[in-house]
Subunit: 301 residues, 2 copies
């Protein structure tokens, strides 16, 4: 806790040790997609708001994991058996190799798995296609007290859906409205939505794909289709820009996180999650039984 | 990897550092329920097969987490998108406070959440009760390449089901047969089943419940019903004995893990999981594409 506070709070220190890092500005404000945002103006190698190197960031990630875990446990304790109540939904979108898996493993994986609901959305099945595009999404919305993580999401239906022309423009247009209505409804019900695009450069992706091809233990992560998608990079960027223009709302804002440096993107997403939890401010629930009477009852056994 | 090997293999060393620990015997054989097993002969404070203290065990747990993670990743890589193939199913049963949650958090939580399917079975819902008792269980059997974890399971239906007389003796009897058939069918389909009972003493449970009552941040984990269940301890132990007599099979053996010392039970369950994975022996899959051709294709983009 203290270490994490240190990482977060020491904004006035001037005598840092070589590997110490710190947030000089709150990344939430820096990364949030506001009116006028331009994806093509984002430097994918930048580390907005953070002063420190990889080593410092990894130290910070470990130091803050405990605080995140504490907040998660309080959220779970206070709400998980209720019929309604707050939850957190982290939506992860990105081009291939941008690091979604690493976020799940290193950021989400550091908290108790009992409080996590992870949903990976792949190419829709025949059953899923027979329903509205939000049908399979609604089924995986996290329940009260939980942190839900979407590894890809309903945004695929307006990204690959648009780039690959899987739906016509009118349909895509209707989906944006449906998404905003859906997310507003979730927010109203207490779901704190954090939408993250991990943003890498095409060069960085090439290096990462090449690394996969060069390591037999990484071949399983490579798919020849990745190169085909890669060729459509400008189309995808344009589709993302439209997504940001149309769906970064007060109820469910987008955050574009530079991700060429994995250590930065992990630290930044951890911080976004932590702030979402702090906003909810979960408290240990009061006992709904007489503590002293229970002690007596217990000691009589 | 090397550290874990050290923990596991140094059976001939005589000059251990004070906090080093080691398995002197394979716990799999020591903890497995064989014909003639008597639950009431188990010492809940013992640490079968392990020579070392809490500090050593925690070191060993961390050291072996990486090896377990590597095995899990290979299992996932090799099988997760197939229609059939091996998986692991860890079934956790125990009296309250015995440490199921700690196993999930500290043993299972150390591997990539993307390869884990966690199912916590609570009191059945009306919908679940309208079906056969195995209905809700079948829906949560891990798919190929996954590690499934059942926090409680179908065994509740022959434990609390028997102790609280929720079903008549003939029905309970039929359930044993149904369970053995079901588990044999899973094993046949490639599910490596590891059934664990975490075994604590009534005194240890009292201490742990008291600790929950003494800490406001633990009150949420306490339920007055826990004391009612506790009063039925001998009945539960008898029901567990019957479970072991009837359902510890070659295809799906039971392991009774002494759990008064949490550090031992975590280390032992980690080892059981690791052996299950080693038995499957998953290998990185061969590339189903031409690696060199893909490199050229990639570099042309």
């Amino acid at each position: 806790m203290r270490d994490c506070e240190y990482e977060r709070m020491t904004q006035t220190r001037t005598d840092e040790a070589p590997s110490s890092g710190r947030w000089t500005q709150n990344p939430t404000g820096l990364l949030r997609v506001e009116k006028g945002f331009r994806l093509d103006a984002v430097d994918t190698r930048a580390t907005p708001g953070y002063q420190g190197d990889k080593r410092a960031a990894n130290h910070g990630l470990a130091a803050c994991a405990r605080e995140l875990g504490d907040l998660q446990e309080r959220l779970y304790a206070a709400h998980h058996e209720a019929d309604s109540g707050p939850s957190v939904l982290l939506v992860l979108q990105a081009m291939d190799t941008a690091g979604k898996g690493g976020i799940v493993r290193h950021v989400v994986g550091a908290v108790d798995p009992q409080g996590i609901e992870l949903a990976a959305f792949k190419k829709p099945t025949a059953e899923e296609l027979a329903h509205d595009f939000l049908w399979r999404i609604r089924r995986r919305v996290p329940g009260p007290g939980m942190i839900g993580v979407f590894d890809r999401s309903h945004y695929e239906d307006v990204l690959i859906g648009k780039v690959r022309e899987l739906a016509n423009p009118e349909e895509i247009e209707q989906r944006f409205q449906a998404i905003n209505d859906f997310e507003a409804e979730l927010a109203e019900a207490g779901v704190r939505i954090v939408k993250v695009m991990l943003h890498i450069s095409p060069d960085e992706q090439r290096d990462r794909l090449l690394k996969r091809l060069n390591r037999p233990d990484k071949h399983w992560k490579y798919n020849p289709g990745d190169v085909d998608e890669r060729r459509l990079w400008p189309d995808y960027m344009e589709a993302y820009q439209t997504v940001f223009d149309r769906t970064s709302t007060e109820a469910a804002p987008w955050f574009v996180v530079p991700a060429d440096r994995k250590w930065y993107s992990r630290l930044a997403v951890q911080r976004l999650l932590q702030e979402a939890l702090e906003d909810i401010g979960p408290q240990w629930p009061e006992a709904d039984f007489d503590v002293e009477a229970e002690k007596r009852r217990l000691l009589a056994t």
